[in-house]
């Protein structure tokens, strides 16, 4: 354990406070991630990249700051941004999922081409994984990509393509080798959403908003060079992406931020003149969640250390998505209860506008269910934890499936 601030850390902290004082006014209020970043957000993002407050450890040649990984630095930055109420930078699927995937398994030219524009917020990506018939059984994807000369020709349908309606690019899992066994017949392609033959239809969820899409492909031509790793290696690449997606879905900072918002809400909300924070039944729930969230915070620091040291976190990492999303739901459940009857109001304003507090919490409360399900349901996560993390035997092949 070594978490003390060195002089360098103290200097960074000081620097951040000066930055907040001097540049803080340039921060956008919130950056979305559900919409294309606006000019103000892009400028802010550029500033963060320049200072190394975002993508701090991504090499300079790919547009990052090129710093050595340092858990405490990361914590200081998150902390100071949090305290000053500054927007910490864009988080979208390209940045959180594709960029680390390319850095891990992409070709040099792919890293050069895509990492910088993506982390600058200029290239927006969407994810082409799930299909209507294969949700949990991702490897059963049936969207075809057949080689025709030096292009793949894509036909099929994807679902849950969240930002497809404004994305520039998609990372797509598709079947290129139909004769090979299920997991060996997939490839991972990068394609422009402007390619002819792509149709995007909005998909409304239980929140009442169209946060997702269905995407249809009809003879969509993708240059064969736009494959990550080789043909038939798509399942391997997809699992790298899933690894980062699942880390993202269990992010402790998000949960801690949520906890502090709930505490504020409990201070502001009263029943019969008594603050909710002073009602022991609610306070006890808040405290239980605080204990969980603190454990989760330090677990996250441990994972960052693993990553910085190239240590395989094993089962520690595999639990992130399952545990984090369930905790998120318990938090939003408490918020919804604190809001109570008066807070049943619900009137989402659409992607580009801010929602009122009650609506925001109810969206979270429902969206959390989507997060529990998406990116591999909790049931799938528990299979993975048990089999890959603990070495428990896979389910034996069934007679039907063996046929």
């Amino acid at each position: 354990m070594d978490l003390e601030y060195s002089d360098r850390h103290k200097a960074l902290q000081q620097e951040l406070r000066e930055f907040a004082a001097k540049e803080g006014h340039r921060s956008p209020k919130s950056g979305g991630g559900r919409k294309r970043p606006d000019r103000k957000t892009l400028d802010w993002q550029a500033l963060l990249l320049e200072r190394g407050y975002f993508a701090r450890t991504i090499p300079k040649e790919y547009g990052g700051y090129g710093a050595e990984p340092d858990v405490v630095e990361a914590a200081i930055i998150a902390d100071e941004f949090n305290k000053a109420g500054l927007y910490p930078g864009i988080m979208n699927q390209g940045i959180s999922m594709l960029v680390p995937t390319l850095l891990e398994v992409g070709r040099e030219d792919q890293k050069k081409q895509w990492v910088e524009t993506t982390i600058r917020g200029e290239t927006i990506w969407c994810q082409g994984y799930s299909e209507p018939g294969s949700g949990s059984d991702l490897a059963a994807a049936r969207t075809r990509a057949d080689l025709d000369g030096d292009h793949f020709v894509v036909n099929g349908q994807k679902i849950w393509t969240s930002s497809a309606h404004y994305a520039d690019m998609m990372f797509l899992l598709c079947r290129t080798e139909p004769d090979k066994p299920k997991h060996e017949g997939l490839s991972y392609l990068l394609l422009s959403m402007k390619t002819p033959g792509i149709e995007v239809r909005p998909l409304t969820t239980m929140t009442g908003r169209a946060e997702f899409n269905e995407t249809f492909f009809t003879n969509v031509r993708v240059p064969a060079s736009q494959i990550v790793m080789g043909r038939g290696e798509g399942w391997r690449v997809a699992n790298v992406t899933l690894k980062y997606e699942r880390m993202l879905l269990g992010d402790p900072n998000k949960l801690l931020y949520r906890l502090s918002r709930i505490r504020d809400l409990m201070e502001r909300t009263a029943v019969d003149g008594v603050r909710m924070l002073d009602l022991p039944e609610y306070r006890e729930r808040l405290l239980k969640l605080q204990g969980e969230a603190l454990a989760w915070k330090y677990h996250g620091m441990r994972l960052l250390t693993d990553m910085a040291n190239d240590v395989d976190s094993g089962v520690r990492r595999l639990i992130v998505k399952y545990v984090g999303t369930m905790m998120g739901h318990r938090l939003s459940s408490l918020a919804v209860d604190v809001l109570g009857a008066a807070g049943l109001s619900y009137d989402p304003q659409g992607e580009d506008k801010d929602d009122d507090e009650a609506t925001t919490w109810h969206i979270d409360y429902m969206y959390d269910i989507g997060l529990i399900i998406g990116g591999g349901t909790s049931q799938i996560q528990k299979n993975i934890i048990g089999e890959r993390g603990l070495g428990l035997p896979r389910e034996p092949k069934t007679q039907a499936a063996a046929r």
Binding site: V271, E281, D337, A341, A342, S345, I369, A401
Partner: protein
């Protein structure tokens, strides 16, 4: 000697459920939810014909003259159908308040209209129920002033019934002078809540004392709990059906223990709740000593259980459960609404503690 529904009660149940399943296919729920008023004339007329509006109104006033067991049976059916219809406040609390605290004139003037579906009374008991957005009301003679935010069953309301913290109740006409009345959309689009401000509006005082007002509140809580039972049962039924139908990894997903055991847990949680609701209805109807305690537990226990049911049943449906496509969310939101109105689980348990002398009043 029997714990369970009588043949007559079963017939009522089947009749109301039959009507609702015909009247409210998913597309119709969707249409009415989009409209969002919490009221539909055709549906309301049909339910009136079923005797739902007059279920607890005495026959001498034009009602059906049944009791709280029948009322919880109806409430469960309405929850099961996610019916955009106001029952707890408009058809149970309001007539009960009038019957218990009104004079003969009020009874004969109002109860028949309620039973006939002509008077629709929105109800706010927040001043007694321990909810957020409590009513702030003053009553000076027959002049009502103040605001309420949580009017139950405001859809097409003709009258507003509000309770004051001291237990007095006041009934005002929705379009009377000095009344500003509106709907607010809730997360459950089948049931909005109402807001109203009163500026010296003329009110009819219903003063049966605080005990009567609390008794009316308890009846409402029981009905809301029964509604959530129906909504929870619907989600379980849909989860079981989906598990029997959807295939992944070359198998029906219900053959996986992860899914099968989730369904089993759901039933293990919800099924005993039905007996609790039935008993609470019976105890309330027969004035049994343990009725208030049982009702408080019905509201709180159902609130806890159905929240879990709403999450787990959605999870069984995977991504499809999260979309709008299957409409499962209408019941999720119904459950969300039921938990919060008329006092949440924590509040009801706290009242249960006081009632038993386990905590100071």
């Amino acid at each position: 000697m029997r714990f369970g529904l009588s043949d007559e009660q079963k017939m009522l149940d089947e009749s109301v459920r039959g009507f609702l399943s015909r009247a409210l296919p998913l597309d119709e729920v969707r249409r009415l939810a989009a409209a969002g008023s919490g009221y539909d004339a055709a549906l309301a007329n049909g339910l009136t014909e079923q005797g739902v509006t007059g279920i607890i109104v005495l026959e001498e006033y034009g009602g059906v003259g049944l009791g709280m067991v029948e009322a919880v049976v109806v409430a469960e059916a309405l929850g099961y159908a996610a019916a955009p219809f106001g029952f707890a406040g408009a058809c149970v609390m309001a007539p009960l308040a009038i019957a218990k605290a009104g004079d003969d004139g009020a009874r004969s003037e109002l109860l028949g209209g309620i039973a006939a579906g002509e008077r629709r009374v929105a109800v706010d008991f927040s001043a007694l129920a321990g909810t957020t957005g409590a009513a702030e009301l003053t009553l000076d003679g027959d002049r009502l002033s103040g605001t309420v935010q949580n009017l139950l069953d405001p859809g097409a309301a003709t009258d507003l019934l509000v309770a004051l913290a001291d237990g007095r109740m006041a009934l005002v006409e929705a379009d009377a002078a000095g009344v500003k009345f509106g709907l607010r959309k809730t997360v459950d689009r089948t049931r909005p809540l109402g807001t109203a401000s009163f500026d010296g509006a003329t009110a009819r005082l219903l003063d049966g004392g605080r005990d009567v007002a609390k008794d009316v509140l308890q009846a409402g809580r029981l009905i809301i709990a029964a509604d959530s039972l129906g909504a929870g049962q619907r989600m379980i039924d849909q989860a079981v059906a989906y598990a029997n139908e959807r295939e992944q990894f070359g198998r029906k997903i219900g053959s996986f223990q992860a899914v099968k055991h989730t369904c089993s847990e759901l039933v293990g949680m919800l099924e005993p709740c039905r007996s609790l609701i039935w008993y609470a209805g019976y105890a309330r109807e027969h004035g049994m000593e343990d009725a208030p305690l049982t009702i408080l537990h019905a509201k709180s226990h159902l609130g806890e259980i159905t929240r879990e049911v709403s999450r787990m049943a959605t999870e069984v449906h995977g991504g499809m459960g999260f979309t709008d496509l299957l409409g499962l969310h209408f019941w999720f939101k119904r459950i969300t609404f039921d938990r919060q109105v008329l006092g949440g689980p924590e509040r009801c348990r706290s009242e249960a503690a006081t009632l038993q002398g386990w905590a100071a009043a």
